[in-house]
């Protein structure tokens, strides 16, 4: 094969990861056809039986779970009307990637629900508009089709039509049993008024100023966003739809909820949420995707009754055999416009320019491979045909380094609402990596986002990123109560440095002062730290889901954690040190041996226990004992060999203090 004609062409196998069920993708319907049929069967069952149904999909990393959801999304949201006029949805489709803190599952689902409800199709309509059009058509005595209603809703001339007030609001109240604030917000979104403010409120963002709330005609909520509140909104939004137009909840990457390999609580909480959705509505279809390798763990962690509700039907996405692999490769090659003229001359060879025999090594023992591995392998073959050389395997550490930097740079653009989610999800992961002796405890209260313990020391972390001062004051008040009942724990309040506390927020300031007088400490991470934390959490979540790789085999969470602990991003370690440092008393900090250890670490930053003891001129046992007494100051990575580092490098500590001044 002469490789020259292919030189310079883009490799059709470059994309190996499907990030989202909303992406536009080429599809081979024969692959995982049975799983697709099972999901469609469950969907029809919801429509006819008026009861919820569910499918649990198992598959290895890269087996095509997200791709299958993508196919279902296209199937359910782009079916044509019987008269062939406009494409109309047959369901409300939600794609929820579970890269979040398991204690904020409902809040995450609420946000995703709203974002997807406001998702705009190529024809300019949103899912919400399509949903309302279908409901109007269902209740229309004159039998006008949904497409006609959709046209009426989108017509700007009808925006001020009196019918909205007469029909929509009573319908929301009586039929959908939706509360006043939500009614008003939906009314604005459906009629296209104050869309940004209404969307933000519906997603649970608390940044809306009083005048925006006035415009929407609703009142603020002092409590801020809570899991119960988010659950209520999600269930209310479900009631907007009817069993004839079910709500398809597609949960992807359940395994990304785990903060560590042994974390069972996150699966338990997912089970509770799924069960609650199943029990509280009559029009929900739950499709949950999980990696085969965590199946045992998942089953063990969740209640049997919850499992039964989530897994009314189970399906497995098998590794692909040779026949399916050929279809997959041919599908990709067919899509390439550059290749089309060359391929036309080889009509008898559907895989041209790839030789089918070159694929044999993929199917040696177990007789199957995941779709991602097949695409990656074919990409390598294509590249070899282009250049005459097989692509050299990349260095995973270099890849991780570049990925971390890329993700951190991207996260520099995240806003304050996103940084709160980053903190909620990222802090437990950070504690897992640099926490050393610190152990994560079960969340004791809804206002405590992370509880760390070491011996008798306990540090309770509360995220206080409320933008609405009333919500912040209410949270601080609850924290005062909690702190007075749990005096043994040191309370650390974390607030994004970009979020000011307004001068007029007297109650908030007073409560903050009062908490600080009682020993609570404030910690204000800057954007660099938050971006690094976001990069860390997204890397670990992708690794846990098997979605992190550089063309070859996926890079596992353990490798990522080891790499992250090896590079020890100084901002992140300093941030963690600032949190756990709250547990240290003045006497502990002033210990003589400790001063020696810190002196050595100040010069070398990171070193093994033995080397440090040698340099400090102290026995190893004494150094170890001292370290145990100062869990808030010295970081420790379990070896072998045991590696020590200063949580708060001097240069960062001083700059942080200057900032505070």
């Amino acid at each position: 094969m002469n490789g020259k004609p292919l030189a310079g062409m883009s490799n059709p196998f470059r994309q190996t990861i499907v990030r989202d069920a909303w992406e536009s993708l080429a599809d081979v319907p024969e692959i995982h056809a049975q799983a697709f049929e099972t999901c469609c069967g469950a969907f029809e069952n919801v429509r006819t039986s008026r009861h919820c149904d569910s499918v649990l999909l198992h598959g290895g990393a890269g087996s095509g779970k997200t791709h299958l959801l993508n196919r279902l999304r296209r199937h359910w949201t782009s079916s044509r009307e019987q008269d062939g006029s406009e494409p109309m949805s047959r369901c409300v489709f939600l794609y929820c990637r579970l890269q979040t803190n398991p204690h904020r599952l409902w809040q995450h689902l609420r946000k995703t629900f709203v974002e997807d409800l406001l998702h705009r199709f190529p024809d300019g309509t949103t899912q919400l508009q399509r949903l309302v059009a279908c409901r109007f058509a269902e209740g229309d005595g004159k039998g006008r089709p949904a497409a006609k209603w959709l046209g009426w809703i989108r017509n700007p001339a009808n925006r001020d039509h009196g019918g909205w007030n007469r029909i929509l609001l009573p319908w929301l109240e009586r039929e959908a049993r939706i509360g006043f604030s939500l009614q008003r917000v939906l009314y604005h979104l459906i009629t296209g008024r104050h869309v940004i403010e209404a969307g933000a409120w519906l997603k649970g963002e608390d940044r809306l100023p009083e005048d925006a709330l006035d415009v929407l005609g609703i009142r603020g909520n002092d409590e801020g966003q809570t899991e119960d509140g988010a659950r209520e909104v999600v269930l209310s939004l479900c009631r907007l739809a009817s069993p004839l137009m079910p709500v398809a909840f597609c949960f992807d990457q359940i395994e990304a909820l785990q903060t560590s390999r042994d974390d069972e609580e996150s699966f338990f909480l997912f089970g509770q949420m799924g069960s609650s959705l199943f029990n509280s509505s009559n029009n929900a279809l739950l499709i949950s995707c999980i990696q085969s390798s965590v199946m045992d763990h998942f089953k063990r962690a969740i209640r049997e009754a919850d499992y039964d509700r989530i897994a009314q039907r189970t399906e497995t996405l098998d590794p692909l055999d040779e026949k399916s692999a050929h279809l997959l490769i041919a599908g990709r090659l067919d899509l390439s416009r550059e290749l089309a003229p060359l391929r036309a001359g080889h009509a008898q060879k559907p895989l041209w320019p790839i030789n089918p025999r070159d694929l044999d090594p993929l199917f040696s023992l177990s007789g199957g491979q995941t779709a991602r591995k097949i695409i990656g392998f074919a990409g390598g073959l294509f590249s070899k045909l282009q250049t005459g050389e097989a692509p050299r395997p990349g260095d995973p550490m270099e890849f991780l380094s570049k990925e971390f930097d890329r993700r951190r740079d991207m996260a520099m653009g995240q806003d304050e609402a996103e940084s709160d989610m980053s903190l909620a999800h990222g802090l437990p992961l950070l504690a897992e990596i640099v926490g050393g002796h610190w152990r994560k405890e079960r969340q004791p209260d809804k206002d405590i986002d992370l509880l760390l313990s070491h011996g008798k020391k306990r540090v309770a972390v509360s995220l206080c990123n409320q933008q609405n001062m009333r919500s912040l004051a209410a949270r601080l008040k609850r924290l005062e109560g909690w702190h007075s009942r749990n005096k043994d724990a040191k309370l650390v309040l974390i607030r994004d440095r970009r979020l000011p506390i307004s001068k007029t927020a007297t109650a908030t300031r007073n409560r903050l002062e009062s908490l600080e007088e009682k020993g609570a400490r404030q910690c204000r991470p800057d954007l660099d730290t938050l971006a690094a934390l976001q990069a860390l959490r997204s890397l670990i979540s992708d690794a846990r889901s098997g979605d992190l790789h550089d063309g070859g085999d996926p890079i596992g969470p353990q490798t990522v954690q080891e790499w992250l602990s090896g590079i020890l991003d100084s901002r992140l370690t300093a941030f963690f040190g600032e949190i756990v440092g709250a547990s240290e008393t003045q006497e502990e900090a002033d210990s003589e041996v400790m001063s020696m250890i810190l002196d050595v670490l100040k010069r070398h930053r990171v070193m093994t226990l033995e080397k440090l003891a040698e340099q400090a001129g102290q026995p190893v046992a004494l150094v170890e004992e001292t370290l145990k007494e100062h869990p808030g100051r010295i970081g420790r990575l379990q070896g072998p060999p045991v590696v020590l580092f200063d949580y708060r490098p001097a240069e960062l500590l001083s700059s942080g203090e200057e900032d505070r001044e």
Binding site: L244, S292, S293, T314, G367, P554
Partner: protein
């Protein structure tokens, strides 16, 4: 004109997803026809009399016959729950009890539903209680012997109200289920195979160990005691009677293949042939030797009878967990197994 009116009424009822009352029908007709209540009532009665439409409870009408619509809805409901009372069916379908009872009687007569009456209230189920109970008992016992209490509690999950008396009744009518006798701390158990003598010998084993301790200063080994015991019991080495059945662990991988396929089926939820089964769970349920199990699993994969799911990051697992998985020659560890998708 009357035909036109009847046609319009029929169309309204045809488009509706539920039976409609007279005022609802009148409202739906308002765009096309104006009918007085009296006139509409007359037309509805006439159409119902002629069998063109059907009268439903609470003075509602539909173009679908309740005798045809209600039974499938009940069956759908029964498919989701193991056994349900008529009152629950009534609440779920929002239909009068009378209609439910008639439909249930019809379904029972046709053998499509069964009555299960553990207490005062009858429950209805898709499963024939005694057949289902026996199947469940046999399937549970395939994993090994169980006590009556454990069996009853397992059956109660599928047949609400299932009690020990039902169990004894069901077991007494079937061959092949053996009652293993009680002795000391060993409770009465039920099994498909004769009891393993091991649990019954624990006291005797303790006594033998005491004797071994007593005689060990004289360098009497356990093997010597074992030989003496054989002589005392009138047994000789090599006699077939000592080995009543070849243990599972000694079977060849070829013999183990059907056992593995059966085991997969048993561990899958009923009717879900595509549910992934954990290799660990399967291994534990079969008690085959590790080598035999691993070879049989890989052989089934090569024959394309099953698909294997690998673990992406086995190095992150502790050694004991890794040992429970199946490893092929290339070092890939498999964590799940499922019968292959029908092509």
């Amino acid at each position: 004109m009357t035909d036109e009116k009847q046609e319009a009424i029929k169309r309204v009822l045809h488009d509706s997803q539920t039976p409609k009352s007279m005022p609802q029908i009148r409202k739906d007709l308002s765009g096309r026809l104006r009918l007085t209540s009296k006139e509409l009532a007359g037309l509805l009665q006439e159409m119902a009399g002629a069998g063109r439409i059907f009268e439903w409870p609470r003075r509602t009408y539909w173009d679908r016959d309740p005798r045809h619509v209600v039974p499938p809805r009940i069956l759908e409901l029964l498919d989701k729950s193991p056994a349900v009372t008529p009152a629950k069916i009534k609440a779920a379908l929002k239909l009068p009890l009378q209609l439910i009872h008639t439909a249930l009687e019809d379904l029972v007569r046709k053998g499509r539903a069964h009555i299960w009456q553990p207490g005062k209230t009858p429950l209805y189920s898709r499963l024939d209680p005694s057949t289902a109970a026996l199947d469940m008992i046999k399937s549970a016992l395939a994993d090994g012997p169980m006590t009556e209490k454990d069996l009853v509690s397992r059956l109660r999950k599928r047949l609400p109200g299932y009690q020990a008396k039902h169990f004894r009744d069901h077991v007494s009518h079937v061959d092949g289920i053996l009652e293993h006798p009680r002795q000391g701390k060993v409770k009465t158990r039920y099994g498909l195979k004769p009891p393993e003598p091991g649990p019954y010998l624990s006291k005797a084993a303790q006594e033998i160990l005491l004797i071994h301790k007593l005689l060990s200063p004289f360098h009497v080994s356990l093997e010597a005691i074992h030989d003496a015991l054989g002589r005392e019991l009138g047994l000789e080495h090599g006699k077939k009677g000592l080995v009543p059945e070849r243990p599972r662990a000694e079977r060849t991988s070829r013999e183990a293949e059907p056992l593995i396929l059966e085991g997969i089926h048993r561990l899958q939820p009923p009717g879900q042939r595509r549910a992934l089964v954990s290799i660990r769970e399967l291994r534990r349920s079969l008690s085959l030797g590790k080598r035999v199990f691993d070879e049989a699993v890989l052989s089934l994969a090569l024959q394309r009878k099953v698909a294997l799911h690998h673990h992406d990051f086995p190095t992150g697992l502790p050694q004991d967990e890794r040992d429970e998985l199946v490893r092929d020659e290339q070092g890939t560890y498999y964590v799940g197994i499922v019968p292959r998708e029908a092509s």
